[in-house]
């Protein structure tokens, strides 16, 4: 067989594998979604609450720092430019709109993908390697109901809440920089911020966060389930879950913005 044919076969094989994996992830997501009604049932309540706690409360510290500094950096960069035209009072609107529309959900998504998503992939990957997933299957316990559904519920609910928290802290961070570095009073900063940000911005931002939550769960759980080759495989799955989540969040974030603002 000549080289071009072999190359085409290899590419074809990769594409088929990619489609197969995407299909597998989609089926997993659909099945977990069908079980969502059982999130607070007797069998899943504890796991659902645990996942909500892990996603929401345990991520607060890092989100607080990142959100504050994101707002501060935004305010400083835009404020320095606007000062050249004497318009630094507009940093309120620049920070608020950027945070609510894009940066809030996006930064939250990245943090949760890196912290919670990677932990999910590592945990499920380890369970695959140590035969715990096989044990669940043999006990006729559906891993999608037992493991994926509580995580899906937790991330889909907590992501928008965390995004709101990120928005608020980001805007506050901007206010701190505005008042201390750029001479914009907190009152005028807030007036300006609330004047330009619309309800639509907030809803679209929350919708993005919700979608990002679903993406992180799907990618992380799927990568975990695909783990092979022991400890090395767990490492690979964790790395892949973070990279894939980041890329998907970026692409889907752009598509949602385009859908609602053009």
């Amino acid at each position: 067989m000549n080289y071009p044919v072999r190359s085409a076969e290899r590419v074809g094989g990769k594409v088929l594998q990619l489609l197969h994996n995407a299909g597998h992830a989609l089926v997993m997501l659909l099945e977990a979604t069908l079980y969502i009604r059982l999130a607070f049932g007797n069998r899943s309540r504890r796991e659902t609450v645990t996942q909500m706690y892990v996603t929401g409360i345990k991520s607060l510290a890092v989100i607080t720092v990142v959100a504050l500094f994101t707002g501060m950096i935004l305010a400083l960069q835009t404020g320095l430019e606007l000062r050249r035209y004497g318009q630094e009072v507009y940093i309120g609107s620049a920070v608020a709109v950027s945070m609510i529309r894009e940066m809030g959900p996006f930064m939250t998504g990245l943090i949760i993908a890196a912290s919670v998503g990677s932990a999910i992939a590592a945990q499920i990957g380890t369970m695959v390697v140590s035969e715990e997933i096989s044990a669940l299957e043999v006990m006729s316990i559906n891993p999608n109901r037992f493991l994926v559904m509580p995580r899906l519920f937790a991330l889909a609910v907590m992501m928008p809440i965390l995004a709101v928290y990120t928005n608020i802290l980001g805007i506050l961070g901007g206010a701190v920089v505005g008042s201390t570095q750029l001479g914009v009073s907190v009152q005028s900063y807030m007036d300006n911020a609330t004047q330009f940000a619309t309800n639509k911005d907030l809803y679209v931002g929350l919708f993005k966060a919700f979608v990002f939550g679903i993406i992180i769960t799907t990618v992380s759980c799927h990568q975990g389930f695909m783990t092979r080759e022991g400890a090395v495989g767990v490492g690979k799955a964790t790395r892949r879950s973070v990279i894939l989540s980041f890329l998907t969040i970026l692409v889907v974030g752009y598509m949602i913005t385009r859908l609602f603002y053009i």
């Binding site: 069998r43 140590s130 035969e131 096989s134 299957e137 043999v138 006990m139 316990i141």
Partner: protein
């Protein structure tokens, strides 16, 4: 009870099971031995359809399980308890919660009854003291016993043991062997044990099957197994210092 009919399985480029046929009868302790990579664990996984054969049929209680739907497969799997090589206990649950898991998932029992049934099993396996501990805090032998307690909590007809004594010291290994014999004698459970420990196989097995390069080279009761004329069997026996004329012959005849 369990029947393999001309089962073949290829993984990558290797034929792991090559046209394998055998049957396990009710109440037997059927031991599968062989070198690493001989296809022992793969055989076990086919019995509960964690793996599908490339060709051939797997029959459980007269029913071919190859293409069963989810519900029917659940019913077949409910006949089995499995002790995995690593015990496969869920790490974030205590021993008690691990053993109670199948009851909580499948039966709507009052908490008192769950407690009673779990404690009964834990006591039987001498694990009551470890009930509140997490798997990471107990020894390998205790983990295996906890795995066994979970495997038998739903009163299965068949228990599959994947390398039950691997990684354990000789004393604990013999204790696990005794437990497997006890399961058959007290609960009438049919057992399929995968191991490469021939001492254990000869002590607990009512029949021993040896796999080599995906093929069955011997399938016989222990006394016939040690007298097998097959060279692979003989070299496997000798590798573990078991000879035709030795203590095993005396033990088997006792």
């Amino acid at each position: 009870m369990i029947r393999f009919e001309n089962v073949t399985k290829v993984l990558g480029r290797k034929t792991v099971l090559d046209n394998v046929s055998f049957e396990v009868g009710e109440g037997e302790t059927f031991v599968i031995v062989g070198l690493s990579g001989a296809g022992k664990s793969v055989t076990l996984k086919h019995m509960i359809r964690l793996m599908m054969p490339d060709s051939g049929d797997i029959v459980i209680d007269g029913e071919v399980i190859n293409h069963l739907g989810r519900r029917a497969l659940q019913e077949v799997r409910s006949k089995f308890g499995v002790l995995f090589q690593s015990a496969a206990l869920l790490q974030w649950m205590t021993v008690f919660e691990n053993v109670a898991l199948p009851l909580r998932e499948h039966l709507r029992l009052p908490e008192e009854e769950i407690q009673q049934r779990v404690n009964e099993r834990l006591e039987m396996l001498n694990l009551l003291d470890a009930a509140g501990k997490f798997p990471a805090d107990i020894s390998g032998g205790m983990q295996k016993r906890a795995g066994l307690a979970r495997a038998i909590i739903m009163n299965p007809k068949i228990v599959l043991y994947d390398e039950p004594t691997s990684g354990l010291d000789p004393v604990t290994s013999r204790r696990i062997d005794d437990m497997i014999v006890d399961m058959r004698e007290r609960l009438g459970i049919t057992s399929v044990v995968v191991t490469h420990d021939l001492h254990s196989a000869l002590a607990i097995g009512t029949r021993i099957m040896m796999l080599h390069q995906g093929r069955i080279v011997e399938n016989a009761p222990p006394e016939a197994f040690i007298r097998s004329s097959d060279e692979t069997v003989q070299s496997f026996l000798e590798s573990q210092y078991i000879t035709k004329k030795g203590k095993w012959e005396e033990l088997i005849h006792e």
